[in-house]
């Protein structure tokens, strides 16, 4: 393989942001506290908004600035606030210490993985590699398409699935679903940046609906099981 030329500023910047999104996704495997998990999701969403600003500036699409602002407002501010409020509400069932923990967002979700952390990461690397190379095999090339960003967005979606499967707590599963949407936004931004604004806004409101549904589900599950773990649901298997 010949020496690789340095990428242009736009494509290099887009790739760096995309890698950041993927690293945040991997970081979610490690977070032990619910509060940190929510923060990491907010940071990942912030990166997506930054990418929207970059694409808007590089390809002269002013409506993307509106999208960046909307997406930042919704995913960096509103969704984390809703999730945190939800966590505070979860303290009522337990004893005093548990309520206190929930109020500060210290709810422990560590150790909810079914494999050890290092093995989970290795598994996720393998899954991400599958995403990378299957997109690479398609040989999509375009002057406006940063080559790695699309492949990384597929990897983000796949790794989000691994997160949802491997973590046994409801909260991580919800965050995994929400970050899956981040991966899809990433793909939409780099492939079809000119997609009409109204369509993208509709997606964002879809996300809001998902958050409300997850809130209901988490409350329901916590009300019945008095924990965030889904481990005891396996006994319901037929």
């Amino acid at each position: 393989m010949s020496a690789v030329a340095a990428p242009s500023v736009y494509s290099g910047g887009a790739s760096v942001i995309a890698v950041g999104v993927l690293l945040a996704e991997f970081g979610m495997f490690r977070q032990a506290l619910l509060r940190d998990q929510v923060r990491l999701y907010a940071a990942q969403s912030g990166l997506i908004s930054a990418l929207a600003v970059l694409v808007a500036a590089a390809r002269q699409l002013p409506e993307l600035y509106v999208l960046a602002a909307l997406s930042a407002g919704l995913k960096v501010v509103i969704v984390p606030i809703v999730l945190r409020r939800l966590l505070r509400g979860l303290g009522h069932g337990g004893d005093g210490a548990q309520q206190d923990q929930a109020a500060h967002g210290w709810t422990e979700i560590a150790g909810s993985g079914s494999l050890s952390l290092a093995s989970t990461i290795l598994l996720a690397i393998a899954v991400a590699a599958f995403g990378f190379f299957s997109v690479g095999a398609l040989r999509i090339a375009s002057p406006v398409l940063p080559p790695t960003a699309l492949a990384i967005s597929v990897s983000v979606a796949l790794v989000a699935f691994v997160l949802m499967i491997m973590r046994r707590d409801v909260a991580s599963q919800a965050i995994g679903f929400l970050s899956l949407e981040n991966g899809i936004s990433l793909a939409a931004l780099v492939v079809a940046a000119g997609m009409p604004l109204i369509l993208e806004v509709a997606f964002l409101f879809d996300l809001l609906v998902a958050v409300v549904v997850f809130e209901l589900l988490i409350r329901l599950h916590h009300g019945r099981a008095e924990s965030l773990s889904t481990a005891d649901l396996t006994s319901l298997r037929g």
Binding site: L23, S116, A118
Partner: protein, 320 residues
């Protein structure tokens, strides 16, 4: 106009810079660390006084130890003095012996030194030294994949595995340093260096706390000049690793492009300044994070591995 220095002299200067400056860099780090913890701390030259004191003392060997025990510190120090010949310490151009080995060759020599120290530790028969040697070898095997993938990134970017070539590529364009593969590889290498120099994740590099002892446990039975050589060797290893990180990956600027005396002198000062800056960053990181439990080291190694593998992936897809 300063005169041109002969090539062999520059080559000797590379080795001497690392050998002479290494304890000083350790001294700077110890000082910064003490300041961060609100202590006055030892003076920067303290490691030199320590070495001088140890060199004057008597050398003792435990009963039953063979010649390996006494020869290993010399062998290890010789290895650490060989590596600076292979990496760009002062110059941007390769020196006569500079192409004797590539990055893998340098890595082999560094692991040979670590192997010799481990063998001496086993030879001593002391449980602490043996524990340190066994941990060092086990964890070296865990961090090795990350190092390999960093080398793969270098190989994919430059089509060679010569450290001089990567440094030249990084200098050639500003876009290269912000390329995701380069950032990921540099970050992975930095994490490996944090581990290799006995900082986070688990080791306490100054204390004698057995839970976190890896590198520091190995010279437990050595004394006098042999202990001095081992301590000097580990500070040389630290400076060599910093030099690889700085002059090959992160900041390959300030190196001498010509063999003029002034340029080489400037390069020495630049290297020392960069190494002190890197040491400060390391000390800040070391003091801002809690140590992990010993067996959490796989998580740290997995993170470094993840970064390096992603670097290779992005390169493979042509993202740079």
């Amino acid at each position: 106009m300063s005169p041109n220095l002969p090539m062999p002299l520059i080559q000797v200067l590379q080795v001497m810079t690392v050998a002479v400056a290494a304890p000083g860099v350790s001294g700077v780090i110890a000082r910064v660390e003490a300041r961060l913890q609100g202590r006055t701390g030892p003076r920067v030259a303290q490691p030199y006084y320590d070495l001088a004191k140890l060199l004057r003392k008597e050398a003792l060997a435990p009963e039953g130890a063979s010649w390996v025990f006494l020869a290993a510190p010399l062998g290890a120090a010789a290895c650490y003095l060989t590596v600076p010949l292979l990496i760009p310490v002062l110059t941007t151009f390769g020196l006569p012996l500079g192409y004797m080995g590539d990055i893998l060759g340098g890595g082999f020599i560094l692991s040979l030194a670590s192997f010799l120290v481990a063998v001496a530790a086993l030879d001593s028969g002391s449980p602490y030294a043996q524990l340190g040697a066994s941990r060092a070898k086990t964890f070296a095997a865990i961090t090795e994949p990350a190092v390999l993938f960093v080398i793969f990134v270098v190989a994919l970017v430059t089509s060679t595995d010569l450290p001089y070539a990567l440094a030249a590529t990084v200098r050639s364009s500003s876009g290269q340093i912000a390329a995701p593969a380069h950032l990921l590889a540099a970050a992975a290498l930095f994490m490996v260096i944090l581990y290799e120099t006995g900082r986070i994740p688990v080791e306490t590099h100054t204390g004698t706390n057995e839970f976190g002892m890896i590198e520091e446990a190995r010279p437990f039975e050595h004394s006098g000049p042999h202990l001095a050589l081992l301590k000097w060797g580990s500070s040389m290893k630290q400076l060599i690793l910093y030099t690889i990180l700085l002059n090959v990956f992160v900041a390959p600027w300030g190196l001498a492009a010509t063999p003029r005396a002034a340029a080489v002198g400037l390069a020495i000062i630049a290297l020392l300044g960069k190494a002190a800056a890197a040491g400060t960053v390391v000390a800040v990181i070391d003091n801002s994070f809690a140590k992990l439990r010993l067996f959490k080291i796989t998580e740290f190694a997995a993170a470094a591995f993840l970064l390096a593998v992603l670097g290779v992936f992005t390169l493979y897809l042509g993202g740079g």
